[in-house]
Amino acid sequence: MTGSDFREGMRVGVPIVLSAAPFGALFGAVAVQNGQTIFEATLMSATVFAGASQLVGLELFGHRVQPWLIILSIFAVNFRHILYSAAMTRFILHFNGMQKFLTFFLLTDPQFAETVKRGESGRAVTFAWYMGLGTIIYVPWLVVTLIGALLGNLITDPKVIGLDVLLPVYFLGLVFGFRKRDNFLPVALTAAIGSILAYRYIGSPWHVSVGALAGVIVAALMPVKASAPATVEEA
């Protein structure tokens, strides 16, 4: 049964791999453009394994932002995983310690979505199934990162092939992923204005912390809704 569960997990993962692959390649290509070596880019995909935050890290590294702020921003972008692990704990309580460690290491947006879907449909979330899904997402992620980095290494001027437009548009897409959240417009507009002003009048690394802080303060000051349960969405 274990082998068939593993294979079933892998089957579930195939469409996920196909849709995630361009982002892995994008990360690899942008990574070498922003000063990482091919090995460093692949190591980052292997250890962080969270595409959006990896690209955020690169962007900030390219702006020579202070290291602590890079780590804090990566933590902020990955913050949603806290909600994921809280929400799926009930399905994996029967795993042992080492299995839980691997389970949470491999926790991504699609991994969470599929696990909850399976758990709520009444089928057992077995470790073999989870690892089948996790493996088919993890291994190709490293491979496409490596391919992207190898290709990116050949590019002398990223502007000629339009590579420089991809990162800002990608982040714009991520921002749009949050547009159903409470206070989205005031938060995004405040962060946008705050970051541009800081960029203009203070200087490059500070636009991130100043703009983000302004947006978060606005959210904290907005009228509190009666019931606002923490929601989990794809990002």
Binding site: P67, Y84, K100, D164, V187, S195, H207, V208, L213, V216
Partner: protein, 104 residues
């Protein structure tokens, strides 16, 4: 960049990995000893990702050339209906057309 692995980059990557893993396992520890989160703190935490990500978009738009501004504007409109991959394709096509076709 030359070389294989730099110590400062290795430390940065490993710190990023630890920070990310903390978020992945954090909810497991929280769920067992959860106390209620104050509503305003909850709203602030909820706003963190959108606020941080917006600061990576807006200054690029502000500092970019006219072809980048147009491409990002087009991608924004596309994003109202379509997913991120479509936005990337649209933004890329516009920037390439303006640079190589329009001579910007």
């Amino acid at each position: 960049m030359d070389g294989f692995l730099h110590l400062d980059m290795l430390i940065l990557i490993l710190a990023a990995a630890v920070a990310t893993f903390a978020t992945r396992i954090g909810g497991y520890f929280l769920i067992t000893r959860m106390k209620t989160i104050p509503p305003r703190l909850d709203a602030a935490l909820n706003a963190v990702p959108a606020a941080v990500l917006t600061t990576l978009v807006a200054p690029n738009f502000y500092a970019g050339g006219p072809e980048l501004k147009i491409a990002m504007a087009v991608a924004l409109v596309v994003g109202l209906r379509f997913n991120v991959l479509t936005m990337l394709a649209a933004g890329w096509v516009v920037v390439m057309a303006l640079r190589h076709g329009g001579g910007w």
